[in-house]
């Protein structure tokens, strides 16, 4: 099975001349279906740029991005928008939901943008809300929801319509650890159901939820190595705890 997201030699430079800032430098990244990849690095390391480029919100200065085999550079602006509606879901740290729309309307927005009739979209939206355990808050406005609930709605919105690529930028940054864990469980669940997810964070605890952690520094991937898998090595690692 080919990668849902594949980035090859992607570079991004902002500005020009002496003011040029290289945000990404020849980054390679591939994410398979069902895989959760964490991109970890300190602030300013270019990890957010990586995410916006992966999600077709920005165009790379060099290199190519494929989503489900489609090269983004070959798509028109409108086709990229359609790709976002149908394939890509975003979860941001903050300012995630559209104010003025209820939870379920937020979720149905990408479906309706894609031309789905309001009634059908609403059915799908309610189902997506059920999956994140918020069916009873369908009519609530974002400012009536707690941070954790908002983020769960955002995840439901990112996944509704059977989207395959979930891009999350510090999704638990504004949450306490308990709600944060709930959000991460949802993202893991989505991956188990076959979605590919990229999680950008500087938080080791969050990165630890991933199948694979890619470390970036100054726009470069410094460590993308696959790691030993499975929890069975845990006990043998012999961490001494009792006294």
């Amino acid at each position: 099975m080919s990668a849902v997201l594949e980035m090859r030699q992607v570079s991004k430079t902002y500005g020009s001349g002496t003011a040029a800032v290289q945000a990404l430098d020849a980054v390679d990244l591939a994410v398979r279906a069902g895989e959760l990849v964490a991109v970890m690095g300190p602030s300013g390391s270019g990890k957010s740029t990586l995410l916006t480029i992966a999600g077709s919100l920005e165009e790379p200065s060099e290199g190519e991005v494929w989503i489900e085999g489609t090269a983004l550079s070959e798509l028109s602006r409108n086709k990229r928008a359609r790709l976002r509606r149908r394939q890509i879901g975003y979860v941001f740290q903050d300012f995630n939901l559209l104010a003025g729309l209820t939870a379920v309307e937020n979720i149905t927005m990408p479906l309706e943008l894609d031309g789905m009739k309001a009634k059908q979209a609403r059915r799908e939206g309610i189902r997506a809300l059920e999956e994140v355990g918020l069916a009873d808050r369908a009519g609530s406005f974002p400012d009536e929801l707690s941070g954790g609930m908002r983020q769960r709605v955002a995840i439901a919105r990112a996944l509704v319509g059977d989207r395959r690529l979930l891009l999350a930028d510090e999704p638990t940054g504004a949450l306490d650890s308990d709600s944060g864990e709930g959000v991460m469980r949802l993202i893991r669940g989505a991956c188990r159901n076959g979605a590919a997810a990229v999680l950008v964070t500087h938080d080791a605890q969050l990165a630890a939820w991933a199948d694979r952690v890619v470390f970036v520094r100054d726009g470069r991937v410094i460590d993308a190595g696959p790691e030993p898998e499975g929890p069975e090595s845990l006990l043998s690692s012999g961490r001494e705890s009792g006294r």
Binding site: P42, E181, R185, A204, A208, I222, S233, L234, S241, G242
Partner: protein
Amino acid sequence: MSVRHALLALLSEGPKYGLRLRQEFEERTGEVWPLNTGQVYTTVQRLERDGLVESDPDDTVEGPQKLFQITEAGAQELDVWLRTPPPADAPPRDELVIKVLVGLRLPGVDVRDVLQTHRRHTIAQMKQYTRLKEDAADDLSLLLVADAQLFRLESVVRWLDAAEGRLKHHAPVAPAAPADAAPSTRTRRLRGATR
């Protein structure tokens, strides 16, 4: 956590047979807490000697069939223990600190590489605890234990991050790297930058 107090805690729920004590001890602390279960009987004996638990004086058979119950003094001891802060001897990962300090002085060693190796390893460990947590469902004690480990490991990662930050602002103390140093991208970049 000491076995003594764990056993006292179990007995504070009611009188228990030795076998039951052992089973419950294993259940509650979980696989993450690998203790020698043989310790259970000897510890109970010591507790009895100290007058913190008592057994039926007629029952002279030591082992699984003996019924224990907590004494007044035992309950008091348990209460005092719960509220006593643990001694401040959390392991400062001395070994890791020493390794990094040594790395700084060794020619041809890219300390950042060392840091990254440890970071990767620590996160791999965190991943395992996270998996555990993911599958733990409602097992509260397991979740708590996993959380504790995760926070501890996270602090290691944060120390590694901080160390890397410090390295950025202080030129490495190491002498000029010899030509046969590990030719990773990172090293080359670093050398290029310092030259």
